[in-house]
């Protein structure tokens, strides 16, 4: 469970999050929408302590993030928008192993996790390939695998579909669906709900640093009108 309790945050005195409260349950698939600059990325970075609230509190599985960063970072896997400049290694396997290595796991356990993560994103057996030689969609999936290898209970993804062609996007979506069905909480930031709305349990949308909508998908279309988000045509 990820819990925001009246979180506020400002960049150089410009308030970006204002009194945000939000709870994401285990296994929930939550879509996270909002205009450019509404504060989505800023909020997501609080989930694992990359940013610290100016006031309020973020809890992961009941523990404040600030009290146990390791726990928060291993339970919340995070996928950033552009994978290319975040890979720490030149090959697929070495990059995915980075997280588990830092958790100090046994080598056999690390290998097992790398294998599982690759399987989860349909890239089994490709650990020795060079990341630079992969297509954009494959790179996005490696980034997701890197997060999965931490064995997270939640997955936070910041616009993971940018630049992906249709089959690549589908294959990433399929993975997310099956992960969520298996109990991983998914928080997915996107501007376009058309392909994802039916998969989600909830839609949350921000406006100017506040939560403006928090509804089940069926009611989201109406609630989102005027909120800068592309919803499926009626």
């Amino acid at each position: 469970m990820i819990e925001f309790r009246s979180v506020s945050y400002a960049f150089d005195d410009v308030p970006v999050l204002e009194d945000v409260s939000l709870t994401i349950d285990d296994g929930e698939f939550v879509l996270f929408a909002g205009a450019n600059g509404s504060g989505k990325t800023t909020l997501l970075r609080h989930c694992n302590g990359l940013l610290t609230p100016d006031s309020g509190e973020v809890l992961v599985d009941g523990t404040p993030v600030s009290e146990n960063l390791v726990a928060a970072r291993s339970s919340v896997g995070m996928v950033f928008q552009h994978p290319r400049d975040q890979f720490v290694a030149a090959t697929v396997g070495a990059d995915i192993a980075f997280g588990p290595e830092n958790l100090g796991l046994e080598r056999t356990e690390i290998d097992r996790r790398v294998e599982n993560a690759l399987e989860a994103v349909n890239l089994s057996g490709r650990e020795d390939e060079r990341i630079d030689a992969l297509s954009g969609g494959e790179q996005s999936r490696v980034a997701i695998a890197g997060a999965l290898a931490m064995d997270p209970t939640h997955l936070v993804l910041d616009e993971p579909f940018t630049g992906l062609d249709d089959p690549a996007k589908r294959s990433v979506l399929e993975r997310l669906e099956s992960l969520s069905a298996d109990g991983t909480g998914v928080l997915l930031a996107t501007h376009d709900l058309r392909d994802v709305l039916t998969l989600a349990d909830r839609v949350v949308a921000m406006r100017d640093g506040r939560i403006a909508v928090d509804e089940p998908p069926a009611r989201a279309r109406r609630a989102l009108s005027g909120l800068e988000v592309r919803v499926p045509d009626a």
Binding site: N68, R73, N102, G104
Partner: protein, 195 residues
């Protein structure tokens, strides 16, 4: 940042940020520093490495500036083609320009110490110009002392021969690099990391 129940000892956020900058700067030196202009007046080529040594000291300070150049040398030693002319290996570190290479981390540290007056970083743009220039000159002297000195010993040259071929021909180029380094840090485009 403390970690309670877990044995995992997280690297502090500020350190990660400085370290990432040091590593990426080292890679940038590898890309730009390896470009060499063969220079008929000297057995050493003109390269941009020294400019980055200046920048490492000015922008990253004595600790992380030295670390950055050390990463550059280590990566080159184990095979990254980052030395002048895209060379790699332990060989160049011991070859006729090896003295220059070994001097770089020390020079970056010296410049960092003089400009930042210790290990707490300040914005180099706010440091009085004479101090910056003085630091760069001191760093340059260190580079040439070690570079020409080692070459003289290695290749059995007289001191004056070594100075004539390994130092004097580069003076104009070094002055340009100093000007460039100062222009870059005063441009306001490079956000200093306070630590």
């Amino acid at each position: 940042m403390a970690t309670q129940q877990n044995a995992v000892d997280l690297v502090d956020g500020d350190v990660v940020r400085q370290f990432a900058r040091a590593a990426v700067l080292a890679a940038l030196i590898g890309v730009l520093g390896a470009i060499q202009i063969p220079y008929p007046l000297s057995p050493a080529p003109i390269t941009l490495q020294v400019l980055f040594v200046f920048l490492a000291g000015l922008v990253l300070g004595p600790v992380w500036g030295t670390a950055s150049i050390t990463l550059y040398l280590a990566a080159g030693a184990v095979g990254a083609p980052v030395f002048s002319g895209w060379e790699a290996g332990l060989g160049p570190l011991l070859g006729q320009t090896g003295g220059f290479l070994w001097s770089y981390p020390l020079a970056a540290g010296l410049i960092g110490l003089l400009v930042h007056r210790g290990t707490d970083l300040r914005d180099p743009a706010s440091v009085p110009l004479p101090i910056v220039v003085g630091a760069l000159v001191a760093g340059t002297l260190l580079i040439y002392t070690m570079g020409a000195g080692y070459a003289a010993w290695l290749l059995a040259l007289e001191p004056w021969e070594a100075i004539a071929v390994f130092a004097l021909p580069f003076i104009p180029a070094e002055l340009l690099k100093m000007a460039a380094a100062i222009a870059i840090v005063t441009s306001g485009r490079i956000e200093p990391v306070q630590s």
